[in-house]
C-alpha cells in the first residue's frame, strides 16, 4: 500500500506487508532528518491528555524539519463551545498538511478523517485504537527478539478494556504467535477476540496465574488496570492491585524474556525490574519516535 495521503486510523486497516514496510522505514528513521519535512505543518488535536504520545509526535515532526500547531485538551479547543468534531476537523485542515488526533470517544478519528481533506493519524480514540502504539510495540519486539515470527507472547493485566493488547493481538496474529492471556476472569480477553483467534487457527491459553506460564514466554506485555475505562468504580477497586510484578517473577523465566509495558505504570510493575536486562519498556517508549517519523514521512509522501 502506498501510504501517501492515507489516513492511519486502525491497525486493522493494514496488511502484514504494510506493517513490515512501516517497520522497515522506521529503521531508517532512527536519526533525525532535519530537512525531510521542511515547510510541512502537523496539527495536534488532543481532546484528552497525553504526555508520551503528544510529545513524541511533536518531537518526531520537528526532528524532520516540520512545524507543529495545536491544542492539548478539549477545554482549550472550540469543543468547549459545543463545536462538533466534524466542524473542528474541517477548519483545522486548512491550517496544516497532516492532522494528529486523540479523542476520548471511539470512532472519533475515523470521523475526523472523513471530514478532513488532509490525512489524519489516530493517536488514540477512547478504548478503540491507537495504531502508532501498536506499531511501536511491533517495532520493539522485532528489535529485541530479532524477529516477529513464532513467538510466545504473554499479556497480563486488563485484557478486557485495554486497547493496546487488543490491537497487538490483532497485529501479531500475522506472525504465527502463541498467546498467553493472563488476567482474572472478569478482565480476560473478550470472547469476540478469542473467537477470531480460533477462526484463524492461532494458539492461545487463558490463565489467571502468571507463575504457571511465565517460563514459556518470549515477551511479557504488562498493562495497567485503567481506572478511566471502568464503568463501575467498585469493580476498579476490586482489581486495581491484582498484579504486582517484581524480581520474584524472574526466578522461573527464559533468559531472553523481554518485559514490555505501554506506560504509564501505576503499581503493577515494581521499579526493581527496571535495571534488569529483561525490562525494555523505556526503550519501547523511545521507539515511538522512529515509528512516528516513518508514518509522517510516508503519509506526507516524502519517503516510499
Amino acid at each position: 500500500m502506498n501510504l501517501k495521503n492515507q489516513d492511519i486510523i486502525s491497525i486493522n486497516d493494514f496488511s502484514k506487508e504494510d506493517l513490515l514496510h512501516i517497520l522497515k522505514i522506521a529503521k531508517s528513521m532512527e536519526k533525525p532528518k532535519p530537512a525531510l519535512l521542511k515547510n510541512k505543518i502537523m496539527s495536534t488535536l488532543f481532546f484528552e491528555p497525553s504526555t508520551r504520545t503528544r510529545l513524541s509526535f511533536i518531537y518526531a515532526m520537528e526532528s524532520l524539519g516540520g512545524e507543529v500547531l495545536g491544542f492539548d485538551s478539549a477545554s482549550s479547543s472550540s469543543a468547549k463551545k459545543g463545536e462538533s468534531l466534524w466542524d473542528t476537523a474541517k477548519i483545522v485542515e486548512k491550517y496544516c498538511d497532516i492532522m494528529v488526533i486523540r479523542h476520548p470517544v471511539e470512532g472519533a478519528a475515523r470521523l475526523a478523517a472523513e471530514a478532513s481533506g488532509k490525512p489524519v493519524i489516530n493517536a488514540g480514540d477512547g478504548a478503540n485504537q491507537h495504531p502508532t502504539q501498536t506499531l511501536l510495540d511491533l517495532y520493539t519486539i522485532q528489535k529485541v527478539k530479532g524477529t516477529l515470527n513464532s513467538l510466545s507472547i504473554g499479556m497480563v493485566g486488563d485484557l478486557k478494556y485495554g486497547r493496546t493488547v487488543h490491537s497487538l493481538t490483532a497485529a501479531m496474529s500475522y506472525f504465527n504467535p502463541t498467546f498467553y492471556f493472563i488476567a482474572p476472569q472478569a478482565l480476560q480477553m473478550p470472547q469476540t477476540y478469542l473467537d477470531e483467534l480460533k477462526e484463524k487457527g492461532i494458539k492461545f491459553v487463558t490463565e489467571s496465574n502468571l507463575q504457571k506460564v511465565s517460563n514459556k514466554l518470549d515477551i511479557l506485555y504488562v498493562t495497567r488496570i485503567q481506572k478511566e475505562r471502568f464503568p463501575d468504580p467498585v469493580e476498579y477497586e476490586k482489581y486495581k492491585g491484582y498484579y504486582k510484578l517484581d524480581t520474584k517473577l524472574l526466578e522461573n523465566v527464559k533468559k531472553d524474556l523481554k518485559i514490555m509495558h505501554p506506560l504509564p505504570r501505576v503499581d503493577e510493575m515494581d521499579k526493581s525490574l527496571d535495571n534488569t536486562p529483561y525490562a525494555v519498556y523505556f526503550e519501547q517508549a523511545a521507539n515511538g519516535i522512529p515509528i512516528r517519523r516513518a508514518l509522517l514521512a510516508l503519509v506526507l509522501g516524502k519517503t516510499k
Binding site: L85, E106, L111
Partner: protein, 150 residues
Amino acid sequence: MKKELTISAIKDGTVIDHIPSNATFKVADILDLKSIKSMVSVATNLPSKHIGKKGIVKIEGKYLTQEEVNKIAIVAPDATVNIIENYGVKKKLRVSIPNQISRVIKCSNPNCITNVEKIETRFSVLSKNPFKIRCHYCERDMNKEDIEIV
C-alpha cells in the same frame, strides 16, 4: 383471497408481505415511505398461518430494487417481496442481508462517535449466520441480540 383484500390490491408497484407485526412500521421507516407521493397502504396485526401476526406494505407505482429490499433484512428477514404489474406478480424478490448496512441500526456502544455526533451509522457484515456486524467507526462487533433499530 379475502384476507388479501383487507387492504386494496395495487395495479403496479411493490407488495411486501410476511413482515413480523412488530416490525411493520420499522419497515415503513427504513424504506422512508412517508416521502412517497403515490398511494401507500400499511397494514399490521393481520392473521398469518406462518408467523402468527404479520404486516403488509403495498406501494403503488414504485418498484423496489434488490438493494432497497435488502435494507429491511435486519427487521424482516423472512418477508416476501412481490413486484406487481397490471395486478399480476411480475417478479419475486428475496430479502438478503447486504454486506454493508447504513443508517438502520444504532451502535450498541454508548461511547461510539455515532452516539455522540449526529452522523449516520455504518456497519460491515462480518457474518450473516450467525449475524455479526462491526461498526465502521468504533470497530465494536455486535450480534443479533445487541441490535437496536434507529
